[in-house]
Amino acid sequence: MPIQYYIYLALSLFSIGVVGVLTRRNAIIIFMCIELMLNATNLLLVAFSKMHHAIALASNAATQVGIEGQLFVFFIMVVAAAEVSVGLAIIVMMYRNTHSVDINFLNRLKN
């Protein structure tokens, strides 16, 4: 499958994520949109890594070139998991205090 399709898919996922973060006020949905953006990146990393590796294999059957991208994906997943645990904890605390997950509540922090 041509690389363009992966790029288009990742781009649309990322855009949905951005628009979601910008427009929604529900903290959980914003959170999910952030995950969407992270995963769009992961998708691209995997796609490019695969393509790069395939090209390198054509000249050298034993090569390892191009697989680092897939390694990065695991890192991102780990970081994302950590982030989710912290973020969800914040949201839970927020809900306990205000009985809402409306992001605009955070405006009060400015004073």
């Binding site: 910008l22 992001i103 400015k110």
Partner: protein, 640 residues
Amino acid sequence: MNNLVYLVPLFPLIGFLINGLGRKSLAKQAIGVIGSMSILASFVVSIILFLQVKSSGAIVANYFNFIDVASLKIPFAFQIDQLSSLFLLIITGIGFLIHLYSTAYMTDEEAPHYARYFAYLNLFVFSMLLLVMGGNYVIMFIGWEGVGLCSYLLIGFWFKNDAYNYAAKKAFIMNRIGDLGFLLAVFWMINKLGTVTYGEVFANVGKLSHQDITIITALLFVGAMGKSAQLPLYTWLPDAMAGPTPVSALIHAATMVTAGIYMVSRSNILYTMAPATQGFIAIIGLATALFAATIALKQNDIKKVLAYSTVSQLGYMFLGLGVGAYTGAVFHVMTHAFFKALLFLGAGSVIHAMHHEQDIRKMGGLKKYLPITNITFLLGCLAIAGVPPFSGFFSKDEILAAAYEKNPILYFLGVAGALMTTFYMFRLYAMTFLGKFRGTHEQEHHLHESPSAMTIPLIVLAILAVVGGFIGIPEVFAKDSHWLERFLEPVFVGSNALVEHKEANHATELMMMGVVTGLVLVTIAFAWNKFSKYEETNTEESGLGKVLENKWYIDELYDAVIVNPLNAFAGFLKNIIEKSGIDGVVNGVGNLVNYSSRQLRLIQNGQVGAYILMMVLSVLGVLLLWINDTYIITFLHKLF
């Protein structure tokens, strides 16, 4: 013996430092002694130097390189030759007498001011010595500026009076205008010759083009115009009478104002090679002599009459320089220093007796109260009028004879000026000392002869004013009798070689002398008669008399043409250009920053969404820039 040279200016400098720094703690007697003795010490050294120069010629003492840049080397050097040794004697000799006189005249001042006075006076003598001793034009210029500064300080000595401060500023600014000319001349010399040392400049004068010499001499003369109060820069000198009277005698009559004459006669070779400038000097000198004399005819302030008389006599000296009678001009500087210092000190004695009354209409009959002042003042008047055998006769006659040789018209105008001089001097004398007293009874009661510290200088100067002329008896009377001319010959030898000297007809010369003397005596008799019976009337002067009384309205003219437009222009710059222009720009920048930051602050509104939006837009912007970087770089290149 060279090591003695630096002592001459050193003594006054030490006197200045002691009196200036110790003015709060020194006793009055000590101040007076230090001030006078430092000048006396200089005088003694000057006599030694004079005798040495007389027997073995000029001394040049090099101390160190004052300016040493690339090929230009200006040494700090003193040159004592016949001309400067003569000036040294005049400055320190008369300077000492005036210091002595000041100890009594200024005795009413409190000790700190008394010390300040003597410190300034010593600083003045130091600067003046630097001026005449300097071995090149730059050292001369240092002294030239120094005397201008001291003149400013001393005119404004009583600084609590606004009018005096104004007079001081006027003197300083007028002098600065002239000094600019001097400075430009020095630059021109450096540019064309690469040296300012007298000996080198005069030896290389042949290398200069005719035009260069004319420009240098003319610019130097502009300096002399300011310092020696010639038309059109003379107006500061009459106003300078705001200073204490001994200051007027020393600075504004005997020494500083003759700096211009010294400078021109020092550069005589340059001037002899620039006939155009010489003609200009003769005309300016004669015009000043006549112009100031007419003003002096109608002045009623005893010091103002003497001030205009000084301007007029300086005009004669420049006339002498202009017609090539360098010896005559220097001779007149010397005799003028004697009799004009005498007259000013006499006037000071009168003012002292009259309790600071300076209007001669309120004097009269002082003869019997101030006998010594009366006699000495009369001798001074006879000397300045040019009655033989008093000193003024010989020096003025020499200048006029040289003028006749050049052009009889100059001579006749000069004689007319001399007659005016005689008239106003005897008007002054008669109104002050003859007739009956016109002041208040209280003043009459307090009239007294001055103390001996004031009368001794008067007597010494009177003797000098009487006999001073005998060092320059004209050739008519006896062969080789002109001692001064022979003494000064080494200084003027270059000029004399360039000018062929016509042998004047002795019969004509004697006849002219006789006629002029006769006219002078008639004028004296006329003025004596007219003003000894002077009665105060309240009639206003009219016509020409009023114009003369108001000094030809020159001050008003300068005010209208130069001072007021300048003030108006300065006011325009201050009120319009600065207030709304420069202040507007400066405040505008400040306001712009203030305003824009107030607007920018609104972006930070605490809305997380807005921040994120901005972040996203910025990232997009950066991406766009990155993609189009070559396009943007070329665009920026086009812009700048």
